[in-house]
């Protein structure tokens, strides 16, 4: 049995995704623990780190059967730009006839004698954004504190009092919201186990579908 790897940008992605997977999925084939995905999840370290790790894995590791990649889609471009960057690496490593565009279900590539590849672009393969945009969709839209966090952050930006860059507006909203819960300021991953996070929303289930398409799991 060969190896499977899920390549992510950073530790927050890791903790949120691991928690989500532990709720919905059996353990990936070839890995011992269901909750601690040691050696299954690799953190690339930002978008360039992810691309570098994907390229190196494909070019130099012989027994990789499945690779899944989750990347952010920064606010100044669309998910297809990420797909184009991944596509370039895949072509260098022998893949051909790749789809032109990413669908809202992400990408799954199966080709003869080559590693199976999956790509999910945060938050939903359609819009720009990052993990915190995905995270918002695990929170009830009518959550009062969420509405309030949004308006406070908007106000701060409007009054030009923001110390964070505007591209991080959504991070500010989610972390503000987390700091207003019973246990103040839990990290994103830890808060996943609280009742105010719903792990069965449409986006969560769609992501899990992508995981199932990309990897092999124990029955």
């Amino acid at each position: 049995m060969g190896q499977q790897k899920l390549i992510l940008e950073g530790p927050n992605d890791k903790h949120v995704i691991e928690n989500l997977c532990a709720t919905h999925l059996p353990r990936p084939k070839g890995y011992e623990s269901r909750t601690k995905y040691k050696h299954f999840v690799e953190i690339g370290g930002g978008d360039n780190g992810v691309l570098e790790l994907l390229d190196t894995s494909l070019a130099t590791v012989s027994d990789l059967t499945n690779i899944g990649v989750v990347m952010d889609c920064d606010l100044n471009f669309l998910p297809n730009k990420r797909w184009d960057a991944i596509k370039k690496i895949l072509v260098q490593n022998g893949y051909s006839h790749l789809p032109k565009e990413i669908s809202s279900y992400g990408i799954t590539i199966i080709q003869d004698n080559l590693t199976k590849i999956g790509l999910w672009v945060m938050p939903d393969n359609t819009n720009s954004g990052y993990l915190e945009h995905f995270y918002e969709q695990l929170i009830s839209p009518s959550d009062k504190m969420l509405i309030r966090a949004k308006s406070e952050v908007a106000k701060i930006i409007q009054e030009k009092e923001n110390r964070f860059s505007e591209t991080h507006r959504q991070k500010a909203i989610i972390h503000t919201w987390l700091s207003w819960q019973e246990t103040v300021g839990l990290p994103l991953g830890t808060a996943m186990n609280k009742s105010y996070i719903n792990k069965h929303t449409p986006i969560a289930l769609k992501f899990i579908e992508w995981m199932k398409n990309t990897f092999d799991f124990e029955l």
Partner: protein, 328 residues
Amino acid sequence: MIKELHIQNYRLFKDFKIKNLGQVNLIAGKNNTGKTSFLEALMLYESRGDNYFLAKLISTIIENRVGKNNGFTRSELIASIIYLKQEKDLSIKINDLILQTDFNKNTKKINGLSKVKNLTLATQLPNSAIKETLTLFDNKIKNYILSDYYGYVSSSIEHNNNIRWHKIALRPEEDIIIDALKIIEPRVIRLNIQNDNAIIRLKGNDKPSSINSLGDGINRLLTIALEMVAAKGSVLLIDEFETGLHHSIQEKVWDFIFQLSKKLNIQVFATTHSKDCLEAFYEIASKKDYENMGKYFRLERDKKLGIKPISVNMRQLKTAILHDLEIR
């Protein structure tokens, strides 16, 4: 320097090609992917088909592979060592020169080399040559130096350093050897080798001590250093670099090898199984002083080609080490 290599029909190598070899090459691969055979192919080539040398080489290969008293007849062993069962021609091409056999014409030739001798391969060795091989094998194995064509460090810790030493004793090259030993034991100031026993003098000691008292590592280092000096302007082959070398000194040994191969114009081919060795190699090969000198590749089985190389560049090597990817 060997830049390109093409091996056909040598043992597992059906049609093996590699380009862009470096000055210091590290070769990994699982068991039975032909690491030792790769070194042998280079030996065959470097010997340029010299009959006498070939006989010596074959006997050494036999000893390395199966040891003595193995229950096989010599000719059985020789036939099994050189992979010519299907009567396919062996060909080793390096840069633009080819060493090859031609069974159809029952002649052997070396294309492009000015010094053309009758290249006789093992299965076709006349009885007299086999006899010569066996005599060498039986009587001279303890005494002879593997080759004047290249340096060779086998995967065994035991190595005959005697003759190499006596060619350089009391010459400037002696200093290189002492410097090498200082990597492991900084107090070494003198060395002598008599009847295979290496003895050293340590700073502050009145009496000489046996090199064996300082552990396996220093013996291995002595062999590497002696073979390197002998390989000046040529090729050094190291089978299983890590033998006897504790991981804490592997970086220093690589540093010594890179430095000396630059100075003495030696091309190095070393095999390994070890992750420590690979990491130590990366640390040194990525130094600015040694830019573009190091090359790492892995041998892998392939249905069509027999064996194929997977090259890993320095950038990929860094990523692989950082993320603990299995690339051996």
